[in-house]
Symmetry: C2
Subunit: 687 residues, 2 copies
């Protein structure tokens, strides 16, 4: 085993009984889930550094809205000073650099989600966009952002009345040859850019997407522009702008989401990001699709990197949530026989409520770690100008994978956080349990970077194209192999349920082949519904809207679950031998627990009939829960960050639940004081 | 139609198009859902009074934790002054008085959920408990609480280490004959009472539940005591108490939940609530079950009234949530063909996401209104000493109904609030949308007044007893008739799915008979599982824990859904003719949309096989969504409170979405100001 002493040991305590029954070493599992010892060391270095910095101390009581923004901005400044991204990392390969940045992002997110959003948008997303959409002339912005940290950027795309449908954005950038400037204008409040992170109080520049209009009046569609917003020395906004903060939100209030209206605001011609198209000094629009593969790769990166980052953060969130709930379940006793109380974790119902999410946390991490490698490898090759077979097809497949996975992961993690909160009862409702904050910060992810409901429709488009190709005897365009099996669609669909014991279900083979059946059947159902609506005279658009419920929507979810299954299975097969028993159990639980949610389709489509299918599948789920009881406490040790990062009175690794609660209660500010406002509420004088 | 001009009209605006297609009058539906014109008038009077009172003005930014407590306590004082409960109401019948109190509670809860908790616990729960558990000697406390409002009480039952299992509480009250006092003591922090609303900062007395110990050392179990906590004139706590505030929570932070440890704290002997048992001056324990029916009735009231109140509040919460989401869906356009955007409400997927919850909101209200009448009628008769047939059986049935309904309603409303937030996209994540606060305040209800998971197990006990009786040919003890059909269990279970068109499913008959099948099958499954575990040698306790998942848990949920269905159906049959078409559609949607979640059981148990069952049921759901499109905007007009109470920038009744958003954005405090902390974050001097 590699040297893992840099991971702090866990103190001995009441959880030892459950820890002693584990079949594996938690540090080894932790390393395996991280996938890279250097990245794991980097993560611990960041956590340990920030734990010693009072600026990152946790607050017992939520700070005011304004104070949350102030702290987050100060923390960003401090993070810039720490230079966790060393020069060596910065100069290493694209893939290594990006992985390091992603690790920093995840480590920072676990302490303050607003801070990672601020950093991701303000520095990484902007500088990446400059590289992919801009040219040499924009290098000065790039260096000022990522190297010198003089620029804090934002990303202005969404408008008040238009979120998901970018084509109808109404902000314009009209070129004026006389002054060689673009004039940016917002026609009315409905076209104000909004939800722009960092714009409300702090950014110096924004990457604006506006309709480019040439002097002849032609609208050339959305283009990107670098637009100065604030003087970096004074944070005063420039004249011609109405810039405001959007106010309080459900979570991530450290981020200053803003809105902006432009009043005939001028920027230099050079600020157009002109890699794919430019306007000459005289005002002629010129498009230059000279390097399609590089542009595709760049587009891929911009679309997907942010969503992959969200999925990595989501894995952290579910890991923290299940760690808190499982440790609580193992230390909290309630009911029992003859007044001998037993820990919640001993109850089958409680196991069933939590263990599926523990398995999910592990399997999601393995999937995303593996998918990130595949993704970065392709982008790196493409950026380097190396030939990538079927690049454009691979780009489409990756887009479908990301568009379906981001909804699955973020929604599942939201459910998990809620279930963990409820499983901790009233004590879980305390802020100091940290389940509320984990949940409310995470909640934004189901909407931003592509609303989950809209995003998953995009994956369906690609899947149906592949299905149609396969039906017509053409090749399936699946360079990553995720739907290669559609070529034999008929064979998979002919499969039926023939198991008679739960052991037959608890195999990777049963899980993957059942998922293939499900995908084939849902594709058939969706396609038939779509065609039947078309045959009634509906347009493509209308037919698509009438094929979503129970079909398209389910299809893309099942596809994402299938991705999780095949990627994680492939990774688990290569893991250390000592870890394989527990990983296979977790994998199998995830697979069957997920299939449980699709039993209706399995019955409806004739995969199974009669009572055995549901009975055996559900019995298998419960058996796996029972089998995992002796492992989960150690599994969550591997999933959990340090106690400082976890920041939960219910989830501390020492397991001293009530001592920790007493300390938390007694440390509440003014806990034993008479209310400062007592004079206002006591009875008026009775004279 | 009765004179409804006291309900303010809704302004004309962009929503008119959808309002014009409704088949009914929204005010008439509103009255019908309220069930009583005087109560509806009272509600509007409260809302209109408080709208004019600056103390009840909404905050753009959440106040600090301390400020939320201060405001809530001041609001309570003001509510006491308004005397919404008139002397006439106070003197009317139990049933009338309680309904008025419930209406006041619901009206107040819709403005500040913490305030209604404060009031409900501090005044009503306490004074009711005095009446039912105490005797003449406690009348002074009663009058000081409900009439003079000099006492603000709390309810101390839960301990840090014991929530659901009351038997194991460890706080003791030991009688000392020499001084004729009880000595209250907390052995350690784990036995500290906690989650006591009003205790943290404000209550003057608590109703304490402690183990009563007589001088001979005998423990007589939990008894109630009135315990002074604070001097009402100064709000200073008394010596011998460690009383603290539990700190920040996920929601309802206006309530000061507290914990308390007693250090040999003395109270007079008279403070024991001695209706059922007393201790003589010499220290002899005497139990007096002289009036069993009255005691039963009283117990029933204490157990159930609070939970019924929670369900009423939940109905308000889901009404507000769907009102916001539906109005937003009807005013927010996105995507379309040839750049003609269409409102979200036109999309089948969006209808499916929301309309099931609109139907739920209506059907839940009708159910709870009807159930409250039945409940109050029985309690009233019992309190008056009138004979109620099978009172003890009725008490058991009502307890089963409440124990299963409270989980169903509170969980469903939690899902609804979340779905409504997501259906409003990013704008729904703004505090000013109010969906976040609705959700986080509501969240507590799935845990308090009986954790949902624990509570629903209690309903299962009763159901299985009735099932066993029916199987053995004995009478089913169901005075309210909810499970009378079990006598013919075999007949219902022989039913199978034979429909061939969706119209055959869209009938009350199909819905109720399918639910009866489901209940019979789940009872059989649960009982068989339980018996099979017993036959393996497990104890009753263990066998029960092994029968929860997929069985007991599902059974109690299905029972609650069935209650909603039979009670609401019976009410709808008596409603005004003009309202019946829309109410039947909503009822049918609720029924089929709920059955959709039990398709697995319908297949597994052999009610149906093949594809028709799922296909027809789901087609019927989608058809009903389409049918209701022209009605839902008007339905939510009937469900929604006034704009002031709804307090949502996305859900205003005028439908001027973007004007309202602009106003909200521009009114954020300091919206256009440079951040007050700008000096701390700009670059350091570059000299």
């Amino acid at each position: 085993m590699e040297e893992l002493s840099f991971i702090p040991d866990i103190p001995s305590g009441p959880l030892d009984a459950y820890r002693n029954s584990a079949t594996f070493n938690w540090k080894q599992l932790k390393l395996s889930l991280e996938g890279d010892i250097d990245l794991l060391k980097l993560k611990y270095k960041i956590w340990q550094t920030l734990e010693k910095d009072p600026l990152f101390a946790h607050n017992t009581v939520s700070p005011s809205l304004e104070e949350q923004k102030r702290i987050t901005q100060l923390q960003l400044k401090r993070i810039n000073e720490y230079k966790f991204l060393t020069n060596e990392m910065f100069k290493s390969s694209y893939s290594k650099r990006t992985r390091a940045l992603m690790t920093i992002n995840e480590a920072v997110q676990s302490l303050n989600p607003s801070l990672s959003v601020k950093m991701a948008i303000g520095i990484y997303l902007f500088s990446n966009a400059l590289l992919s959409l801009g040219t040499e002339r924009h290098l000065k912005f790039y260096e000022a952002t990522i190297l010198n940290r003089e620029i804090l950027a934002s990303f202005a795309l969404t408008e008040v009345a238009h979120g998901s449908d970018a084509r109808l954005m109404r902000t314009t950038a009209t070129y004026e040859p006389a002054r060689r400037e673009f004039v940016i204008h917002t026609p009315d409040f409905e076209a104000a850019k909004c939800w722009v992170g960092n714009l409300g109080r702090t950014c110096t520049h924004t990457l604006l997407f506006a309709q480019l209009i040439t002097p002849d009046g032609t609208n050339h569609g959305l283009h990107g522009f670098v637009v100065p917003i604030r003087n970096p020395d004074t944070l005063e906004t420039y004249p011609g702008l109405i810039v405001g903060d959007m106010g309080e939100k459900i979570g991530v209030n450290g981020i200053d989401n803003g809105f902006i209206m432009f009043n005939q605001y001028r920027i230099p011609r050079d600020n157009l990001l002109n890699r794919t198209a430019d306007v000459t000094e005289d005002g002629v629009y010129e498009s230059s699709f000279s390097e399609p593969s590089r542009i595709l790769g760049a587009a891929l990166e911009n679309l997907s990197a942010g969503r992959i980052g969200i999925m990595q953060e989501s894995c952290h969130t579910i890991s923290s949530a299940v760690a808190i709930a499982v440790r609580y379940a193992a230390t909290r006793s309630q009911f029992g026989e003859r007044d001998r109380e037993i820990p919640l974790i001993e109850y089958e119902l409680h196991q069933w409520r939590l263990f599926g999410y523990v398995a999910t946390a592990v399997v999601f991490r393995i999937y995303i770690e593996s998918f990130t490698r595949v993704y970065l490898n392709i982008v790196e090759k493409s950026n380097a100008g190396l030939k990538v077979d079927n690049l454009s097809e691979a780009v489409s497949e990756i887009h479908a994978m990301v568009s379906s996975s981001k909804p699955l992961l973020t929604w599942t993690v939201l459910e998990a956080a809620q279930q963990c909160r409820e499983a901790c009862g009233g004590h879980g409702y305390l802020k100091c349990a940290n389940l509320g904050d984990l949940r409310s910060h995470h909640e934004a992810t189901v909407t931003y970077e592509g609303d989950n409901s809209v995003l998953s429709q995009q994956a369906g488009n690609w899947l149906l194209r592949q299905y149609t190709a396969a039906r017509q005897g053409n090749a399936v365009d699946s360079p990553l192999g995720t739907v290669g099996f559609l070529a034999d669609g008929h064979r998979w669909l002919a499969d039926t349920f023939r198991c008679t014991t739960t052991d037959q279900l608890k195999t990777p083979q049963f899980i993957t082949s059942t998922y293939k059946w499900l995908l084939c059947w849902l594709l058939k159902e969706t396609q038939e519904k779509y065609e039947s609506e078309m045959s009634k005279g509906l347009s493509k658009f209308q037919a698509k809207t009438k094929s979503q419920v129970y079909r398209w929507k389910t299809l893309t979810r099942v596809y994402a679950e299938y991705l999780v299954i095949i990627f994680s299975l492939e990774s688990i097969e290569k893991k250390e031998r000592e870890l394989q028993p527990v990983l296979y159990k977790l994998f199998t639980l995830y697979g069957l627990w997920s299939l449980d949610k699709h039993l209706v389709e399995l019955y409806q489509g004739g995969f199974g009939s009669g009572e055995a299918l549901a009975r055996l599948l559900r019995s298998a789920v419960l058996e796996l829960c029972g089998d995992l009881k002796g492992e989960v406490v150690t599994v969550v040790d591997a999933l959990a960050p340090t106690d400082f990062v976890l920041n939960s009175v219910l989830g501390k690794s020492d397991g001293n639940l009530y001592q920790n609660m007493q300390k938390a209660f007694f440390n509440n500010p003014g806990v034993f004081e008479r209310a400062p406002w007592w004079r206002e509420v006591v009875p008026s004088s009775k004279l």
